[in-house]
């Protein structure tokens, strides 16, 4: 359910970037999402599609790079990937005291932008914005 809220936050970020840097058409927004975040990619895609309607991001694709959960053992310092069984246990010494190195990410990594002036939609002119609402 909170994917919709997250999708809207992503949109706000990207729209702000477009305005600040006068970017052209944003073709793709690339996200990095850790497997421990409880964010469902399909729900996020759907939330983004719905939120982006009648905005400069209507044609934009959301691409999600999934980041596996990686830990370091606190006693033997070995690094390992936590599988989908979510066993946060060192495969070497079997201890459960491990530090999370990756898997909590929820970030906008980069944008792919098309600066072709014929299809530039930097930001909504005020009248268009009003209509969108």
């Amino acid at each position: 359910m909170h994917e919709l809220a997250i999708a809207q936050t992503i949109m706000e970020h990207v729209l702000r970037q477009i305005e600040e840097h006068a970017y052209g058409q944003v073709q793709t927004v690339v996200l990095r999402i850790g497997e421990l975040t409880d964010v469902v990619p399909e729900a996020l895609q759907f939330g983004f599609e719905v939120s982006a309607r009648e905005t400069p991001l209507e044609e934009t694709t959301l691409r999600i790079e999934s980041i596996p959960i990686k830990c370091r053992c606190d006693s033997c310092a070995i690094e390992f990937i936590v599988s989908e069984r979510f066993l946060f246990q060192c495969p070497e010494c079997n201890c459960y005291s491990v530090t999370l190195l990756a898997g909590n990410e929820l970030e906008i990594a980069y944008l792919e932008i098309d600066d072709d002036p014929t299809r530039t939609t930097t930001c909504n002119p005020p009248e268009q914005k009003a209509r969108a609402k």
Partner: protein, 226 residues
């Protein structure tokens, strides 16, 4: 021509910034803040009612109670004797965020608080993404739920520091295996502190109060030391 522009920004950076502000305010005043999370019906409000009755005269308490609709929980806490309660009705949102909490915090007399509970919306998924400026998360589960809950919601159990198992008086009546629940939780988070209790019978509550007293004292000492 398509070009790539690096952003590398956290999606929830605005929430995290507000949470960091709250955390700093709490630290300056020596307020220990708990983000209390669980499924609906595990007993968050019952645990707070008990805590108010037992510690209300001894520790300066305040509560922020979040719910999708109604102020029922806040009403229950007031009836239990809480002096400072702020309800947050999210109107549909499945979690509290730092902005909602900051707004409520502004309506509290912070000088008069030693221990602040934020009772989150009953949900083990969405609240785990939102930092509220708390010192730690306490995750509550109960014997009427499945003992595999930590495995089903690893994100929340990984991010919590304390796991309280409520309704322990009903253990015999339920298909809940305490050892399995603890083992499952440990698999997700080896640093969890475990407490078992019953808000109904009162068993185990002294340990909870003791843990709270100690946490509040440590926070006060930190403030004096800094």
């Amino acid at each position: 021509m398509t070009r790539k522009v690096t952003v590398a920004e956290k999606v929830l950076s605005e929430n995290d910034r507000l949470a960091a502000d709250l955390r700093e305010r709490f630290a300056r005043l020596g307020i220990f803040c708990i983000n209390l999370v669980s499924s609906p019906g595990s007993g968050k409000t019952s645990l707070l009612e008990r805590t108010i009755s037992a510690l209300g005269e001894e520790i300066k308490l305040a509560m922020i109670a979040g719910d999708v609709q109604t102020e029922n929980d806040a009403d229950r806490l007031r009836r239990a004797g809480a002096r400072m309660v702020r309800p947050i009705t999210t109107g549909g949102a499945c979690h509290l965020d730092a902005r909602m909490v900051a707004k409520s915090v502004d309506q509290l007399d912070l000088e008069e608080i030693e221990l602040l509970f934020i009772e989150n919306v009953g949900n083990l998924v969405c609240p785990s993404s939102y930092d509220l400026g708390e010192d730690l998360k306490v995750v509550l589960m109960s014997t009427t739920e499945g003992d595999d809950k930590p495995l089903k919601y690893p994100g929340m159990f990984r991010r919590s520091s304390v796991m309280v198992i409520n309704k322990i008086d009903m253990l015999e009546l339920c298909d809940f295996d305490l050892d399995t629940a603890v083992r499952n939780a440990r698999q997700i988070n080896g640093n969890l502190t475990f407490l078992t209790l019953s808000c109904r019978s009162g068993v185990g509550l002294e340990d909870w109060y003791g843990w709270l007293r100690n946490a509040v004292e440590q926070k006060q000492l930190q403030r004096l030391g800094s």
